[in-house]
């Protein structure tokens, strides 16, 4: 038996047992169903698909500090790639997925992908080791890039479609791009966190990269994409969910 039932060594272990209803799933995340598929929005900002053992993250923006420097601005502290990969490593450690899908804007630009420092590239190779790794194209990193893995504009598995940028007519669509964040106000305090946006037809993932800002989920673009009964799932210590329209 595992010592802590909330932290399975391998999430796929769960599949060896009769599956419990998704809502009672005890992984630190919010379980929900999209296009008949059970998914978990993890508090870390990654999306997990237990049945297929797929982990999905979006908008890593690796190499952002270097890109800013190239543009002649002050270089940001050059630790974000290391930090993003370390957090991704922690999620992979918990979930141990067979497949990882990066939903685009994985690199801040194509040059950032080429210029990945040796230790960072080594860390990335270690994360990729033994699993299928898919890079979906984003607006920051169009076309095939240097690092190993499969590169594709988008990907369909079963009823789900993985793409960088949500489309108005999409269904069963899993995307990123907007870096959504939600704000909760209470007693004169405003607490903002990156958040998943979820409705009956799509999920928009929060940005996973360390150096990423956020777009308020009250923004008209997001309000148009999502249905009025959409929910927001806050990332952080716990995956808390609230009606998107109220965030």
């Amino acid at each position: 038996m595992r010592s802590d039932p909330c932290l399975p060594e391998r999430a796929s272990d769960l599949l060896q047992f009769p599956r419990r209803p998704a809502k009672e799933h005890c992984m630190n995340g919010h379980a929900f169903t999209l296009a008949g598929t059970d998914l978990i929005a993890l508090a870390s900002g990654a999306l997990y698909w237990p049945a297929q053992d797929v982990l999905c993250v979006s908008d890593l923006h690796l190499g952002k500090a270097a890109r800013r420097g190239r543009l002649g601005q002050a270089t940001l502290p050059p630790y974000e790639t290391r930090d993003t990969l370390a957090r991704l490593g922690a999620v992979l450690g918990h979930t141990a997925p067979r497949t990882v899908i990066c939903l685009g804007d994985s690199f801040d630009d194509p040059e950032a992908a080429r210029e990945l420092s040796d230790p960072d590239a080594e860390t990335l190779r270690a994360l990729q080791n033994g699993r299928r790794w898919i890079w979906i194209e984003g607006n920051h990193d169009p076309g095939p890039l240097g690092p190993a893995g499969e590169h594709m504009p988008n990907l369909a598995i079963g009823a789900l479609r993985f793409t960088h940028n949500a489309t108005p007519q999409g269904s069963g669509e899993i995307s990123g791009h907007y870096h959504p964040k939600a704000t909760v106000r209470s007693k004169g305090r405003a607490m903002s966190r990156p958040a998943f946006l979820i409705d009956a037809t799509r999920v928009i993932l929060p940005a996973f990269g360390t150096y990423t800002g956020g777009l308020r989920c009250s923004d008209p673009v997001l309000a148009r994409l999502m249905s009025p009964d959409a929910i927001a799932v806050l990332t952080g210590a716990r995956a808390l969910c609230l009606p998107m329209g109220r965030a």
Binding site: A66, G69, T75, Y79, D83, M191, Y211, L215, D229, I231
Partner: protein, 803 residues
Amino acid sequence: MTELAPPFSTFFTARGWTLHPHQRDMLARADAAALLLVAPTGGGKTLAGFLPTLVELGPDPAPGLHTLYISPLKALAADIRRNLRRPAQEMGLNIRIEDRTGDTSYTQKRRQRADPPHILLTTPESLALLTSYEDAPRIFAGLQRVVIDEAHALAESKRGDQLMLALSRLETLCPGLRRVGLSATVEDPPALARFLAPHPAPCEILLADPGPDPDIAMLDVDAAPPWAGGGAAHAIPAVLDAVRAHKTTLIFHNTRAQAEIFFHNLWLANDDALPIGIHHGSLDRAQRERVEAAMQEGTLRAVVCTGSLDLGLDWGNVDLVIQIGAPKNVKRLVQRIGRANHRYNAPSKARLVPANRFEVIECRAALEAVRARDLDGAPRGPGPLDVLCQHILIRACSGPFDADALYSEVARAGPYADLSRATFDDCLAFCATGGYALRAYDKWRRLMQRPDGLWQLRDPRSAALIRMNIGTIQDADLVKVRLRRNRGGKPLGEVEEAFAASLSPGDTFLIGGQIVRYEGLREMVVEVSPDAARKPRLAVFGGTKFATSSQLSQRILTMLQQDSWPDLPGYSQDWLRLQREMSRLPEPGRLLIESFPHDGREHACVYGFAGRNAQQTLGLLLTKRMEDLGLDPLGFVATDYATLIWGLEPLTDATPLLDIASLRDGLDHWLMGNAVMKRSFRGAATIAGLITRNMPGNRKNGRQATMSSDILYDTLVKYDPDHLLLRITRDEAMRGLVDFARIEEMAERVAGRIDLLRLDRISPFAAPLLLEVGKVPIKGAAEERLLGKETTRLLAEAGLDAL
């Protein structure tokens, strides 16, 4: 004694004017390389500063820049232009006088660069920008004098440090340049002179006659003030009476929020509809200008205001200053008093209105300090390094530079006279590569060293970005407020972004004296509509909170030692006596801590008298230590004189808690995660050029996802804890909002003499603290708990909780 020659003498005689002695002295000492004039408000300082220039230029001067005038306010520069042009014309002087600020048009600015006027009136930021141009040597060629107005005010902020660095640059460009500083009354003129001096040369000091003693007293108010709070609503009838009995009254407040509330209450009671306006830094500029114009026309009977009127225009018809709330700082009080009766050698009239019971004592102590001419002030720290980083980038914009030469030039500026070469090199490294422990992107360095050893921008195009972000004023976190209309309603003012983010539709707050309802945020503008409510739901929207100065705190402690207090009102005397009977009165060389149960909770009250900010920091540090010791603190509240902590376990031994080494340790480790530290970091990172507020082409708009500086801060703390910007952030924590220096000072003063009194119930001094607003719940799991509760509630309300 220097006498004026025609046309000046004829001009003065014709008007029956005579020069004040210090104005003559300034003429006599016009050749001094550096001179500081300290004169009381209304002493004709500005004329004293300009007279030597007018005399030197004479009726028909040769073209070229002769005198640069620097003021902290754009409005003051424009005002001086008008006030100087008229007499110059009337004397038949053919002198070109122009101002150059952020408001000056692009064409005018270009013309000024090509063909500078004789006298240029500007601000520290506009001067820094001018020095960043490649043709700076040509623009400033022939410059003879620099006049720094309101030097005492500039010296209190980073704008002064930036200005001194720019003046060092000008010294190099214009050898023989003379500088004159004009200052209101300050506690330590030699310190201000060191700030202004072109080191290692000194700056001479000219002290004007301080004038007669002011007529200053407490305002007679029938009602006793409340036990806590700062509204002073009890004094409204008495204030209205005073306004009625005078021509024009300035009613000063310590915070914008208090000014708003007072103004609102004043109008509710203003049955005669006396024309009374409001003026503070968060109001829209047009609105402020309307109030200023009405003041000048003499159509207003009173203005409710804040520090925004501490400086600037001379309003001769102000005959009364009322200070609401304890003045916190004697020097500022004296400068404010000077705003009444702007006539030389006439006593100013001022009245103090304590807003609560403790402030009665503080006001009494302040009155005695004013009479004893005992001014206070914290010594200036060394020049901040974020400003130096910006200066290095500005220097790089103007062309290649030699690091040795720039170092000697910088060390000539007063604030940087003690700067070590190693620290300078750290700043240069930060500008060049970011100065990170991990040298990952050195090829994308911002500055590079050429084969000949000179430093230059790697990409010359980056100069535009640097120029756009010149300045040290931190207003980045303000958002505009305007009335909701079809096509953009009337702008009302600004609120802090954090305040705006905490608003929910329907919340009401006060701005510009009216109650408004929050409707929504559109393109980073807070849209509001008028609301008929009598009481706003929220009142605080930021602005500075001053801490009571060390000297004034000491005076209060000394006063508490008296056997009786005949100068205080009866209710105050009773209160002090009761405290002495039931507990003890705090003493200057000791630290009093009371521990008592109250209302089912344990309480500890620490009378540190270290000022609001330091007592707040002390609260954060002590509760963290108490948490570690298992005392289960639940929250605390801080005022200028004490911190009250409540929790589940009684405090029985205070000595280990107040060990200064552990407190320092707490500052270094635990407090680094605090929001106040992140705020200091954001300021430093913006000034040093790591974060750019303005980008060419586009102003930040709401659609663009911008990364929060908190992320950069967390990353540096985690991976590069010794980085220059974190060193700067820690240095700033010693002053300002964290004010750890005052905690150190308290520890030194107390030297372990701690009196922990165990009482069986709450003491007379501690009781008012329970009524204070701004209680801080202990964080940690608190935010998560709050989030959890609120999201559950929202889900349930929306019927989504079954999902």
